[in-house]
């Protein structure tokens, strides 16, 4: 399909971007474009104006003085994966091998993927496991917001995400990303990003749920699950109450089971002390 007409503008500062966003309710921000341009082409989304963030100078990935990983909005998935393969937070390098394909990763941004938060998206699951925070910019000020909250509640006011921050504490922790891919499309049908944290583990799930989510109930019961004989059964009960989604190829019931099996495999790869 062909998009309906829109204006294109490439501001050179966040302030200018917000001004443009606030002056037109049908304006949208463009990062890598994989989500937005597809929607515009299919006319499932309309935009009067597309605001490209490429000229704002947000292309750096670095480690802050506090040791946190700072990923600016225009950092591509490929650049992030290559960086993390070298410095730590290796779950992001692993997602970089399993998400999309090289062409998508070359242009798609990490922050853009977090904002789009597709149910089958991989980066969101990893970001949740890593306690990622988003650096929000609005006309009334800047602040950090946990990604989990952003995902859950959204943000009503016009804003721009300048980047993401991943805590130093997870840099060298044992972590990984396991994914069952949807045949042909590349999204995940069930995936888990896991990051060991102290005595416990943090789990971000994608694919099977209606939205990527932290599996807090599974995390809380992790040691208990690891100690039972029928791990799958206890994982199923820990997943109670979560909303699963599916399609004809991989229905929700199957995705739930597949996610549970991924989680069981993760418990088997870790050893935990019995609760005191």
């Amino acid at each position: 399909m062909i998009p309906a007409s829109f204006d294109y503008v490439a501001p050179s500062s966040p302030r200018e971007a917000i001004r443009l966003l606030e002056s037109d309710k049908d304006a949208v921000l463009l990062a890598g474009g994989h989500s937005l341009l597809t929607a515009l082409k299919q006319r499932t989304k309309r935009a009067s104006r597309v605001i490209d963030i490429a000229q704002i100078g947000l292309g750096e990935v670095s480690i802050t003085v506090d040791g946190d990983l700072k990923i600016e909005a225009a950092v591509t998935q490929t650049a992030l994966a290559e960086y993390c393969a070298k410095v730590g937070w290796t779950i992001l390098a692993e997602v970089g091998e399993k998400a999309g394909d090289p062409m998508i990763r070359e242009r798609g941004t990490f922050v853009g993927a977090l904002c789009a938060a597709e149910p089958g998206g991989d980066w969101a699951a990893a970001a949740l496991a890593l306690d990622a925070q988003l650096h929000i910019y609005t006309s009334s000020g800047e602040y950090h917001l946990p990604y989990a909250e952003y995902l859950e509640d959204g943000l009503a006011e016009s804003h721009m995400v300048l980047g993401a921050l991943v805590p130093a504490q997870h840099r060298k922790a044992r972590q990984g990303y396991v994914k069952v891919k949807h045949a042909g499309i590349g999204w995940s049908v069930a995936s888990v990003g896991f990051v060991e944290c102290g005595e416990g583990i943090q789990l971000g799930a994608g694919g099977a749920l209606s939205k990527p989510a932290r599996l807090r109930s599974v995390e809380d019961q992790f040691a208990k699950i690891a100690a039972t004989d029928d791990r799958l059964a206890s994982i199923f009960s820990a997943l109670e109450g979560l909303e699963f989604h599916g399609d004809r190829y991989a229905p929700a019931v199957w995705r739930r089971k597949r996610l549970a099996i991924l989680l069981r495999d993760i418990t088997q790869a870790h050893s935990f002390k019995e609760p005191a």
């Binding site: 294109y8 463009l30 474009g33 341009l37 597309v50 490209d52 490429a54 091998e97 999309g100 394909d101 090289p102 062409m103 998508i104 070359e106 242009r107 590349g186």
Partner: protein, 98 residues
């Protein structure tokens, strides 16, 4: 992507690959291995393969399959394209990986 987003970049299409160190080797390999039938996916396959061989001049079979995963072909079943990329990798001139 929008065409505008390529502003300032240098663009090479299939028309320019005959002059390209890696591209021309790929073109020869695609022909030798029958890596195209209707030809419609071919410029895309070539572009993706150039990208792969620029980054990784010695790809494994799996590397090739993953790198070209974003390109759909309905005619070839992919195998001859795989052969072509592997043949091209083997025939790359030494300095092409620079």
């Amino acid at each position: 992507m929008l065409a505008l987003q390529a502003e300032g970049a240098s663009i090479t299409t299939a028309e320019g690959l005959r002059e390209h160190r890696i591209g021309s080797v790929l073109q020869d390999a695609f022909k030798a291995c029958h890596g195209l039938q209707c030809g419609y996916c071919t410029p895309g396959m070539l572009a993706a393969a150039v990208g792969l061989l620029q980054a990784n001049p010695n790809p494994t079979e799996d590397d090739v399959r993953q790198a070209l995963r974003g390109n759909l072909c309905r005619c070839t079943g992919y195998e001859h394209i795989l052969d072509a990329v592997q043949l091209a990798a083997a025939n790359l001139p030494e300095e092409a990986s620079a």
